[in-house]
Symmetry: C2
Subunit: 355 residues, 2 copies
């Protein structure tokens, strides 16, 4: 607290990211990282950009990430002017709140969702209203048929993993013509349908992606928004009023290579999905209730065991899962899908805890 702070700083409630434990070999199932490394082409591309002596590093990167945007546009069948790039999808979302979601009417998002949304809203003084999920933790599209300055939710939703079918998303976007609908598809590659297919028909749709999950590049900070060129233009105007060069040279090279290796994405995502189904079955076997997930995590509770207690006992064995101290979900744990070996370690530990 200080008299030198701008007013807004006093009102902020900063986001708290998942713990990064400083341990040699934690079973780290708390931040939805991919258990597999990125495509070997990513490593090659970084080495090529680095060269023998890092000669290129003294030069500014391409401020508009032209090559990267071209690779991503080609992958999704879009034009490059429908693609925005940022320093992780968190930065992309922040720009979207400031550029597209701040209006007189309140922004709508689910009561249980990505906990960064209310933080962004405070940062940019965006009015918002939360809309309750139903009792099965599903988003009911009809609840969003009310005056609003924008709608945002993840699909699959976080931290539930619950996915809406594309037809439901289209129904919402088609009805909500007066404001922008942002579909945050951080986890879409693990079994949900992408709304990118709708972009050419709906000028009010913005789809946000990240390389942090299915492309195993959380460490490189690259995210995207896809939408009508007018929406992308707004994001670029904010970006160019904030930081002209949001992506460094190695991040641009890494992400471009990741998009050029679609096989790697398919193979590793399939393995994660198979592990998810196996883990879900094992958890159910132990008496857990598990929300059906289309993401690289599951959201589960045990009717007879306190979530914080389970989490604490796991932690003692260097197994990390995520607990959210929030209404309706404070008896749930969000468990990222690790390798089969990591999932087995978790299940063995849980068996001891709940027996």
């Amino acid at each position: 607290m200080s008299r030198y702070w701008s007013d807004i700083v006093h009102r902020l409630v900063p986001y708290v990211p998942g713990e990064q434990p400083a341990l040699a070999k934690p079973v780290k199932l708390n931040t939805n990282e991919n258990p597999y490394p990125p495509s070997p082409r990513v490593v090659e591309a970084i080495r090529a950009e680095l060269g023998d002596h890092g000669e290129s590093l003294r030069r500014y990167p391409d401020p508009v990430s032209k090559r990267l945007r071209a690779a991503v546009a080609a992958h999704h069948g879009l034009n490059t002017d429908q693609v925005f790039v940022g320093n992780g999808s968190d930065e992309v979302l922040a720009h979207a709140f400031q550029a597209l979601l701040k209006h007189d009417l309140p922004l709508l998002f689910p009561d249980i969702t990505y906990s960064f949304y209310p933080t962004y809203a405070r940062l940019y003084d965006v009015q918002y209203r939360t809309v309750p999920l139903d009792d099965a933790f599903a988003i009911r599209i009809e609840d969003y048929a009310q005056p609003n300055g924008g709608v945002i939710f993840p699909n699959p939703n976080a931290p539930t993993g619950h996915a809406l079918p594309l037809a439901q998303i289209e129904k919402l976007v088609a009805a909500n013509t007066e404001s922008v609908v942002v579909i945050d598809e951080a986890y879409v590659d693990f079994g949900a349908e992408s709304a990118i297919a709708l972009i050419d028909r709906y000028p009010n749709l913005l789809v946000v992606h990240t390389t942090s999950k299915s492309r195993s590049l959380a460490g490189m900070r690259v995210g995207f928004a896809f939408g009508h060129a007018d929406l992308i233009d707004a994001l670029n105007r904010v970006k160019d009023s904030f930081n002209s060069y949001p992506l460094d040279r190695l991040a641009q090279a890494a992400a471009t290579a990741a998009y050029e290796d679609a096989d790697w994405l398919r193979t590793t995502s399939s393995r994660v999905m198979a592990s998810r189904e196996k883990l879900t079955a094992a958890l159910v076997q132990l008496g857990f209730e598990v929300v059906p997930s289309a993401a690289n995590f599951v959201f589960a509770r045990h009717p007879q065991h306190d979530a914080v207690l389970i989490s604490t006992k796991l932690r003692e064995q260097e197994i990390f899962v995520r607990h959210f101290n929030a209404p309706r979900v404070n008896q749930h744990l969000r468990i990222s899908i690790g390798t089969d070996a990591e999932c087995d370690t978790l299940v063995a530990a849980l068996k001891d805890i709940v027996k």
Copy 2:
């Protein structure tokens, strides 16, 4: 333009970065990049973080850049809680505008200065007033003795290269107790005195640095703010409401290594300063008026030759310098210091143009 844009987007005037020409071997003296590569330790550190298969890239980076902040704090004799890290100093400056410079009274900065400042002010709706430089393009400290919500300028100033002595900076900071003074020291390592020495005595001083110039890491996007822990706290609160992980793993490794090699900084900066003095003498010889520079660029005009015309003729020979179409300086060119060979090429071309 779109009805979906937030109000603020319509009012933005985005910053335009210097051109990045897509040529094999341009003589690129337009964006103040270092002519020498980064320390060999930087390349080693990136390779070490990358490993054989990029195993670490699937994991989020350290959100608070602990190791990097420790290295930089040690280098400058500060505590780590006096160090803030961002995705290039442009991002750091943006956060400072939002967190510390937005108040009821207007922010003050020079009429001729870094052209991103008015852009940030529009992005965050910060009222500002410009204060004219004197006729020799010097900042007069006494002109800032007026009610204000903050003061910001680069030292050395951009694009003039003119530096204020530390005693003048201290006079301003000591007198201006009611608001924050930001000294943007992007170019300080090329011959000016850093205000970091004053931080322990003045809780209203924030000093901003970058690895883009003297540390040859423009391509990696790493910048800093140094100041009282309360000021750093404000920046962290904004950062954690915007993007928890602003620096990727390779950028953190690169910048840490750069700060651990102080010899490389000294050697390369000395070479740049020697080239600057040689280039200045050659320009004066050709009839240019050159502002005395403590930066890695010079600001020059020729009384008999139009600046745009000179710049255009240089461009035809793939030599790039920067022209600002702004009052008082539209007959000047800002010329980054290249290698001696690049400076010689420039001088030979100018000799032809002005003869």
